[in-house]
């Protein structure tokens, strides 16, 4: 059974991608995407029944798997090199050549056929990842169908580039599935590079100048990570003589392996866009929104944290672990502060992603069982909510033509449905009893022994609440009810949004169950949010919610007053009578603290700090 599911989860997306590319008919393509999405979701759910499992498929469609992967590895490096050449980027070319040479040496001279082991393996961590990838990823792809149509309409393209776009999107899902399910380091390397390529192609999709620069930046940073990964793998192999990840991990912390593991973590940091590598993810914002949603929630950056969490047991209790925790916590705080100074909605989302991943990294670095559990839980809830928020912003941007949160003031009148979903989404990010917050709670509780980490988490967590609450508040800021037009949207836009929000809420309600399922059986792991506590909260806050809804309904019939403007008369709505009896507009705006520090300067400091942290982390491994 797992074998079939494995095949379906990894190979079907490849085939579907091929289908998208070849069948250039719109309805058919939509059908393929929806079908693939459905199938992947189904498979992922079915996989739940059979974890943990391991498998070692020898061949696929008659071709030897390892041969295939080996060949594909070189092909990918070739592709990277090609793009490096095309964009005249020496760094990328150099990295590609370096990896090519290393890989060639590795494959030809070092790898000796060892004993058989399972090339694929699935435990709770991989299962969670697969579920996230398949469900959230598919929803994003589905949402992208109407989105991309509109997008190309806006751009007034001559020929549609959608086939290529969707092909890469679904391919991405397959690559991610492969990445999280494999147990073979060389396979892992392949999938890792594949995600790099996919993201590069997606970021550069619109082929504008800025898109291409940013895509190239993403490529070199990730190629750097890839190189580190490759060196790390070779090093590990040279020490242990095996590519079997489980074997390496279960052997426990070994001093000799710390440096290569640090390289692995470094690779994870680049991929997860941790400071100082956040710039590639911010640059990725130029891509169409579904791309951002995919990169931020269920793929790409999650590959980075997955890598670190996967290998966490192998460096538990070492200085490396502390380094990871510190670097993660630092990113959490620094990115939250940067987000506070942003008015660009997508940038806020991006910084928040990096920030949250920093939190996950910090959990991985703390490296207790509770912390790892927290990390996994955060992955789940972050994926759901972040995808939701990106899709909302995308939807809003297509309607109001801006992604600036200042322009979303009073969105409630223009897009009531989406506005409410967006606000609800934001609230699930920061408030109990929703999963993100509960995850953060577990994280803080488990980090209480690490002074610096906890201080940074405490600060970061406060800043996080601030920038989210500000945004949510602004959206609801309307002065009169006016005539609210009902919002019209295609089902394919609205459905995924509702599903993502519903999922986040439902899973939060099921927290005790989710927690137990993720944490697995084991001693000394008290779930702080026990069923009793959750019950209390849900009853009190839930009934409060009903009361509040009722109060809101009653308030609709109340006498409406105008905002307080110091008594200045208001002849025209949104203005007051000011000097010379002129109608002065009431302009509202947030403080973004640009007078204190600009993004550039802060980024510079943050990068220096983060660089220091990384040096500390790798140096600690020595």
């Amino acid at each position: 059974m797992p074998d079939t599911l494995l095949f379906l989860l990894i190979v079907v997306p490849f085939l579907a991608a091929l289908g998208c590319l070849l069948l250039r008919q719109e309805q058919l393509r939509s059908l393929i995407i929806i079908g693939t999405g459905g199938l992947l979701t189904l498979c992922a759910l079915m996989l739940m029944a059979s974890t943990p499992f391991s498998a070692a498929p020898k061949s696929i469609l008659g071709i030897s798997v390892s041969m295939l992967i080996q060949a594909a590895d070189f092909f990918l490096l070739g592709v990277i090199g090609y793009y490096g050449y095309k964009h005249r980027n020496l760094l990328i070319q150099g990295l590609a050549v370096l990896q090519f040479v290393l890989l060639a040496c590795f494959e030809t001279f070092m790898v000796a056929p060892g004993k058989e082991y399972a090339t694929f393996y699935g435990d709770t961590l991989s299962l969670v990842m697969v579920l996230v990838i398949c469900i959230v990823g598919s929803l994003i792809c589905i949402h992208a169908i109407p989105y991309m149509k509109e997008h190309e309409h806006h751009l007034q393209l001559e020929g549609s580039k959608q086939p290529r776009f969707f092909a890469i999107m679904v391919l991405f899902l397959g690559a991610m599935n492969g990445l999280v399910l494999t147990n073979d380091l060389s396979f892992f390397y392949f999938f890792f590079e594949l995600t790099t390529i996919c993201s590069f192609l997606l970021i550069g999709h619109d082929q504008t100048e800025i898109a291409e620069t940013n895509a190239v930046r993403a490529l070199w940073m990730n190629a750097l990570g890839g190189a580190a990964l490759l060196v790390g793998i070779m090093w590990i192999y040279s020490k242990t003589g095996t590519m079997d990840m489980q074997a390496i991990i279960s052997a426990g912390p070994k001093a000799a392996l710390l440096l290569p593991l640090a390289l692995l973590c470094f690779a994870g940091f680049t991929k997860a866009a941790q400071a100082p590598f956040q710039s590639w993810l911010l640059g990725a914002m130029v891509a169409p929104t579904p791309t951002s949603a995919l990169l931020h929630s269920s793929t790409m950056v999650k590959a980075g944290v997955y890598l670190v969490i996967r290998f966490a047991p192998a460096f538990a209790g070492t200085f490396l672990s502390l380094g990871v925790a510190l670097a993660g916590a630092f990113t959490f705080l620094a990115m939250a502060v940067l987000a506070m100074g942003q008015s660009n909605g997508k940038k806020i989302l991006a910084y928040s992603t990096v920030s949250n991943l920093g939190l996950i990294m910090a959990c991985a670095g703390i490296n207790t069982k509770a912390a790892i559990t927290a990390a996994i839980l955060l992955i789940i809830f972050h994926a759901l909510t972040k995808a939701l928020l990106f899709l909302c912003v995308g939807t809003i941007e297509q309607r109001i033509g801006s992604r600036d949160i200042e322009d979303m003031r009073g969105l409630l009148t223009a897009m009531p449905w989406t506005a409410v979903i967006l606000v609800a989404g934001i609230l699930t990010m920061i408030l109990p009893p929703f999963g993100m917050l509960l995850g953060k709670w577990v994280a803080i509780e488990s980090s209480s022994q690490q002074l610096f980490v906890i201080v940074m988490l405490a600060l970061g967590s406060a800043v996080t609440v601030a920038y989210w609450a500000r945004w949510a508040g602004q959206i609801m800021s309307v002065s009169s009810l006016g005539a609210r037009e009902p919002e019209l949207q295609p089902m394919l836009t609205r459905g995924p949004l509702a599903a993502l929000l519903g999922g986040a809420v439902l899973l939060s309600a099921l927290w005790p169950w989710v927690y137990n399922r993720v944490a697995g059986p084991g001693p000394g792991l008290a779930n702080p949010a026990s069923a009793a506590v959750m019950g209390f909260m849900i009853v009190v806050i839930g009934s409060g919610f009903l009361w509040a809804v009722n109060a809101m309904r009653q308030a609709r019939t109340a006498r409406m007053t105008r905002p307080y403007l110091c008594g200045a008369p208001e002849n025209v709505e949104g203005t007051y009578v000011g000097p010379i009896n002129q109608d002065m507009p009431v302009i509202l705006g947030n403080a973004y603290f640009t007078s204190l520090v600009t993004e550039d300067r802060l980024t510079c400091w943050v990068n220096m700090g983060a660089g220091l942290m990384l040096v500390l982390m790798i140096g600690g491994a020595l």
């Binding site: 109990p432 009190v540 509040a548």
Partner: protein, 282 residues
């Protein structure tokens, strides 16, 4: 079951006590200014009157936010009385704070909007301090739970003196007392009128006042944990702390948010850092 019972009792009694504390506060403040001051139950008159006022609104969403603020404040007090997890209590009260801010944001009036922004900054200032205090407690008791504090045989105050000061900062902000009455004020002698409260009126303001009483109790409850070994000690500590608050309120001018953020983060972090390092070092 017992804790549920305690929670319910706490939620029922807290507003009464909170209101009385507020009333006492006003009398004592008046005395510091050589005035007579209002009757003790003045806060109840205020709230009842507000409740009986005409309902006017600028945006119905305000009503939602006001109710949620109250509910969250009540829930956090309930959890405190039930001896629950300190971090959870803290997070639940943050729900209230967030809804208060959103309610203030809900009206396009510059005054409530600036109030909301400042309230957020205040949250940024006090939240880390409270978390660090809680961490300090956890280091002493080995658990994040309130009931664990009562198991100690020595008052926390001796081990966490600096953190207690830090909590004092957070408290002053939370109680909206000078020098931290930056985002809102009891009386509006502020450049932003009543800040976050500006646009809430009538019954909604009443809800917010009651929620504030809950918060007063929550905050005082946290203070009392520092002398959990005897009832008398708890009461004494709470009274002394509150008296100090009133004194500080009367002898300091209002800070600006820049000054607040800088000084609170700096001194708060340094103090809690020293205290925590000392605890870790032991």
């Amino acid at each position: 079951m017992k804790s549920l019972f305690l929670a319910l009792i706490g939620m029922a009694v807290a507003p009464v006590v909170g209101g009385l504390v507020s009333g006492l506060d006003r009398i004592l403040t008046a005395r510091c200014q050589s005035r007579k001051g209002p009757p003790l139950i003045q806060p109840f008159y205020d709230a009842a009157k507000l409740w009986g006022k005409e309902v006017t609104a600028t945006n119905p969403w305000q009503a939602f936010c006001a109710v949620m603020y109250l509910v969250a404040a009540a829930a956090s007090v309930g959890l405190l009385c039930a001896g629950s997890d300190l971090l959870l209590i803290f997070f639940v009260q943050a729900v209230g704070a967030v809804f208060l801010v959103m309610g203030a944001y809900a009206v396009p009036s510059p005054y409530s909007q600036i109030g909301a922004q400042r309230e957020l900054l205040q949250m940024v200032a006090y939240e880390p301090l409270i978390i660090l205090t809680i961490v300090g407690i956890r280091l002493m008791t080995g658990s994040f739970r309130v009931d664990a504090v009562f198991a100690l045989d020595q008052p926390l105050l001796f081990k966490l003196p600096l953190l207690f000061l830090v909590l004092g900062y957070a408290l002053t902000i939370k109680l909206r007392k000078s020098p931290f009455d930056i985002s809102a004020c009891h009386h509006a002698h502020q450049e932003i009128v009543r800040g976050v409260y500006t646009e809430f009126s009538g019954p909604y303001l009443a809800l917010i006042e009651i929620a504030h009483w809950y918060e007063v109790i929550l905050v005082l409850g946290l203070v009392s944990l520092f002398w959990a070994t005897s009832i008398a000690g708890m009461i004494l500590l709470v009274a002394a702390t509150y008296a100090a608050e009133i004194l500080v309120d009367n002898v300091s001018s209002r800070m600006t948010w820049r000054w607040m953020l800088g000084s609170v983060w700096l001194s708060g972090l340094v103090l809690s850092g020293i205290n925590l390092v000392w605890l870790y070092a032991r």
